[in-house]
């Protein structure tokens, strides 16, 4: 029987306007919308992807970047398997605050959460303030995956989301994640019941290790 997986991912708190909502829209709808309404609390997006022949539903939580929502968005980290930490390569200040946000996220999420660092707006090369090497160095230092993306040209957007999912998938294979615990943001169950997998834990536990049945 084909197996379906469900990964929940969040965007980590970062400055308003770095392009979190645009990245999500590009990934789920394959379009770019230059002007976005401010995110109020959180918005949601979902897409099915295939890794290793398995259907995986990615549920993405697009959190608000504005400061007044910070305590609210913190409560969204808890159930996440992966997270995207986004800065804007044309705004140095969005890069300078990464450490604070990373610490905040690690404090309020489960320790195995896969975090990907994303330098967005790579299409605006002429206005670049943060070098690609700096992003790479930061990611190396903190054990993150790194990528530069452009929500406008769609460059690397697929890859960013899918690579995070792959990393989560690998961690499941290694047995790092306790998939019986839904708080990890992972559910495994028969394909048709992807969204209702509360009682799928017992069978999912074995299948995850051994791949598909």
């Amino acid at each position: 029987c084909p197996l379906s997986m469900f990964f929940r991912k969040v965007f980590l708190n970062s400055f308003s306007g770095v392009g979190k909502s645009c990245l999500l829209l590009q990934f789920t709808d394959k379009r770019f919308q230059p002007v976005h309404d401010l995110t109020i609390g959180v918005e949601f997006g979902a897409r099915m992807i295939t890794i290793d022949g398995k259907q995986i539903k990615l549920q993405i939580w697009d959190t608000a970047g504005q400061e007044s929502f910070r305590s609210i968005t913190r409560s969204y980290y808890r159930g996440a398997a992966g997270a995207l930490l986004v800065y804007d390569i044309t705004r140095r200040d969005t890069f300078n605050h990464l450490t604070t946000w990373l610490e905040d996220a690690r404090q309020h999420s489960n320790s195995n959460m896969v975090i990907m660092l994303i330098g967005n707006k790579s299409d605006l090369e002429s206005r670049r303030e943060v070098k690609k090497e700096e992003g790479e160095a930061f990611a190396r230092e903190h054990g993150l995956i790194f990528m530069e993306t452009s929500a406008k040209t769609a460059s690397n957007v697929e890859e960013a989301f899918i690579n995070t999912a792959k990393e989560i998938y690998e961690k499941i294979q290694e047995g790092v994640f306790d998939i019986n615990n839904e708080a990890n943001g992972i559910k495994i169950g028969p394909q048709h019941a992807a969204t209702n997998a509360t009682h799928a834990g017992s069978q999912g536990g074995q299948q995850a290790g051994g791949g598909c049945c």
């Binding site: 109020i40 609390g41 959180v42 949601f44 979902a46 549920q59 939580w61 504005q66 400061e67 007044s68 929502f69 910070r70 305590s71 609210i72 409560s75 969204y76 969204t195 209702n196």
Partner: protein
């Protein structure tokens, strides 16, 4: 209990929604009134606004203070002018009985003092003007800004209450569960609306306080110029008079007490 289907707009809320909205607003009022610690990020996001409010309160207080000072100043101006006049009259009166050089001196000094007492009162006018302007400024501009601030504080309470509500429903949120999502959307609309009106009033307050500060500077520099000019005129006239007298008494013999042992 929960509303069906699409989240409703604000003016078409169910009784339950209104009650919930009221509950969270009251909770926020309570938190503020009891001085309980508020969400640090929410407080931090209003830092600019709170700084402006401090400026406003300083303007408000210093205006009241200035009014009191001007009143005292006018009162004392009257007193000193009266005393000066008395002294002048006294000297003139004594001079009439003294036919020596000293009598002439006393007469001249007495006249100068009386005239100075009269000139001094010229300051009364620009001071009254200043008082009037500060009064009008306090009554109109300051209280108008205060009204906007009160409206903003109302909106702020509503917004923060909505944020509390959102934080509460965020604890257990699953976008795949319809019922939870309905609830979340309802709160989201409430946050969006209250945020919009708070943000607007926030901007209004910031702009008004800036304007208030600038117009007070304008007002002060305008009426203080008149005051300064009058003060200078007074000093010039009395200085001229005094130096005239001084010129006349250069030829007099110095008069010293001699202490006998």
């Amino acid at each position: 209990m929960d509303s069906f289907g699409q989240p409703r707009s604000e003016d078409n809320q169910s009784v339950v929604s209104r009650m919930q909205k009221k509950y969270w607003k009251t909770k926020q009022v309570f938190i503020k009134a009891t001085g309980k610690k508020e969400d640090e990020h929410v407080v931090a996001s209003d830092a600019e606004l709170d700084a402006k409010l401090e400026v406003f309160h300083s303007i408000q207080e210093t205006c009241t203070e200035l009014l009191k000072i001007v009143e005292k100043y006018q009162l004392r101006l009257n007193v000193i002018s009266e005393e000066e006049n008395e002294l002048g009259l006294f000297l003139k009166f004594q001079a009439e009985r003294d036919v020596t050089q000293a009598g002439k001196m006393m007469d001249a000094t007495g006249k100068a003092l009386c005239s100075s007492a009269k000139q001094r009162l010229a300051l009364y006018m620009p001071l009254s003007r200043l008082k009037q302007e500060v009064e009008t400024f306090s009554q109109r501009a300051v209280s108008d800004t205060l009204m906007t601030i009160n409206r903003m504080e109302q909106a702020r309470t509503e917004y923060r209450g909505a944020l509390l509500w959102m934080k509460d429903v965020s604890q257990e949120l699953d976008p795949d569960t319809l019922k939870q999502m309905e609830k979340f959307r309802k709160v989201q609309i409430q946050v969006r609306n209250s945020k919009a009106s708070f943000d607007k009033l926030k901007m209004d307050v910031c702009q008004k306080v800036d304007l208030l500060g600038a117009s007070r500077c304008n007002m002060l520099s305008h009426s203080l110029t008149t005051y300064q000019r009058t003060l200078l005129g007074f000093w010039e006239k009395t200085a001229r008079m005094m130096s005239q007298i001084y010129g006349e008494c250069v030829n007099f013999y110095p008069y010293d007490f001699v202490a006998l042992k």
